[in-house]
Point group: C2
């Protein structure tokens, strides 16, 4: 019992582990309060921890012999804010591209197929075409602009091309990317933005990517275009986006990430017209995906091998 | 001027035709009332008609020399109800598979990603997870059952497999279909239905397919499963579906087609729980697609060749 599984899904991870190794055993808890009930002796046994970052933070001071922490999330900012650095921190990577693709597709299709307008018509017992006179659209022939063509952006590009969508990609240093029809850099935005029906930001939060979605950017977009943010909230100048939506400079926006999460109840975003909000659920962490990463690292840890997806405390990712 | 374009999109078809052939000319109208304003001489000139079925029906008795009618729709039931049979009727086929696939994907993703629940949370300024405690799902690993694996069903199957969905197909006579993981007949439904997360009906309306979606069918489905009808309304026993949704025998249903269209304002479907209605908009007819079929047939007509997609008045399709 030299490990602790501290997660809302602790029971699932325990079962998955036992399915791999019948004599597997570990302490497990699903709340910080349960950790407080563990004895000093039990806490001292813990050399590895599988945990959500927020729960790990509650336990971090209580585990003197912790050597390895496997985060169940990609984002470990909360742990980086803690001064402790005498353990190896690993996170989850590489499992999110298909999920982000599904999210973007869900929202682009909801837009083209006017799902929300159909819902409103249904509530009013009205046959859709009779109300609005508008028609539903299709993906085919549309143009997607992807900001950042890492594994997530490339996966999205490939999937969208499957539906007859043309893809423009923006990267830091120009290179050929087979998933895109055209690749450029930030300098190409004035040429790319007016062509795009959908603009999707997948960029991480770095000094270079902060505040890039601003008035100048939004004014270059088509009035019929849609902006989707699955990268980080810091990329968006919030007031500029609200103004663009109110002035119908762009048709709609979908946000999954924000400067502050959860979004505060008084935030202007909640009732901004044509703005669709989701709550950082674009790429849900499925226990089976996380388990695969954990189990691979668990075997490496026991064999004293190098772990995968180690977070560099100095770089912050 | 030996032709008449009678369509809400008449202007578009005229422009597309002129782009193909600069000296193209035809009568055109967008309503039945405009046809009434045409002279007897003009009406007698008309040897071909490109029209929506409902508009064509209004004009059918006024065009003594009609030889060929190109419907802008796939469904020509309205014209089949008219006794006149002394002309060649052609319809639109083969352009709907990608559009139906988009429709099904839009609704399956809206279900997995809980788009409507997110919308409700947003209206209440609530961060989604905090409200419901539920989590969003994914397509990967799910099972789709397709009733009818013609061009539409096969296109849907292929697209869904791209997302890691397993596909069971039901056809009239068992044969290998590369787009499906397993193929069976109606007799295999008791085995197939309990496996399916999504059941999609793409079958046309024939005596064999009427009322197949009934209580026995719905009781065999998983309580977490979703039923989608993009075939014909006659396949569904309406009361049975309403009962299954009210009793939570299945999780949800999405209907695009009905026994009577438009759906009457007093119909029980409008506010049946977990029932999503759209108004026969799954496969919107895009003028450019329809034009391609028309233009090919127009050239064949002028060259006195056999037309494509001829409707057999005796079979009804």
């Amino acid at each position: 019992m030299n490990g602790l599984i501290l997660s809302k899904d602790a029971r699932i991870y325990l079962d998955l582990s036992r399915a791999q190794q019948t004599n597997f055993s570990a302490h497990h808890a699903s709340t910080g309060a349960q950790v407080l009930q563990m004895s000093q002796e039990q806490l001292a046994q813990v050399r590895w921890l599988l945990a959500e970052p927020a729960l790990a933070l509650e336990a971090l001071d209580k585990l003197p012999n912790l050597r390895w922490l496997q985060s169940t999330w990609a984002g470990v900012e909360k742990l980086l804010a803690h001064p402790r650095r005498d353990y190896i921190l690993t996170n989850i990577r590489g499992v999110f591209a298909p999920l982000i693709s599904e999210y973007v597709l869900a929202h682009v299709l909801a837009h083209e197929r006017q799902l929300y307008a159909h819902r409103e018509a249904q509530k009013n017992r009205l046959w859709f075409n009779h109300v609005t006179g508008t028609h539903v659209g299709t993906l085919r022939g549309k143009t997607l602009l992807v900001l950042g063509v890492g594994s997530i952006g490339a996966g999205l590009a490939q999937m969208m091309r499957h539906f007859g969508v043309r893809v423009l990609g923006v990267v830091q240093a120009k290179r050929d990317i087979f998933e895109c029809d055209v690749v450029g850099t930030m300098g190409d935005l004035p040429e790319f933005l007016p062509q795009a029906d959908y603009v999707v930001n997948t960029l991480p939060n770095t000094p270079v990517t902060q505040n890039i979605i601003n008035t100048a950017f939004l004014e270059s977009m088509k009035p019929s275009a849609m902006f989707i943010n699955v990268g980080r909230g810091q990329a968006v100048v919030e007031d500029d986006l609200v103004r663009a939506l109110k002035n119908k400079q762009i048709a709609s926006a979908v946000l999954d990430v924000y400067r502050t999460e959860p979004l505060l109840p008084q935030h202007v975003f909640w009732d901004t017209p044509n703005l669709i909000l989701t709550s950082h659920t674009a790429a849900p962490s499925f226990p089976t995906d996380i388990f695969k990463v954990f189990w691979d690292n668990y075997q490496r840890f026991n064999a004293q091998q190098t772990l995968s997806h180690v977070v560099d405390f100095s770089k912050g990712y």
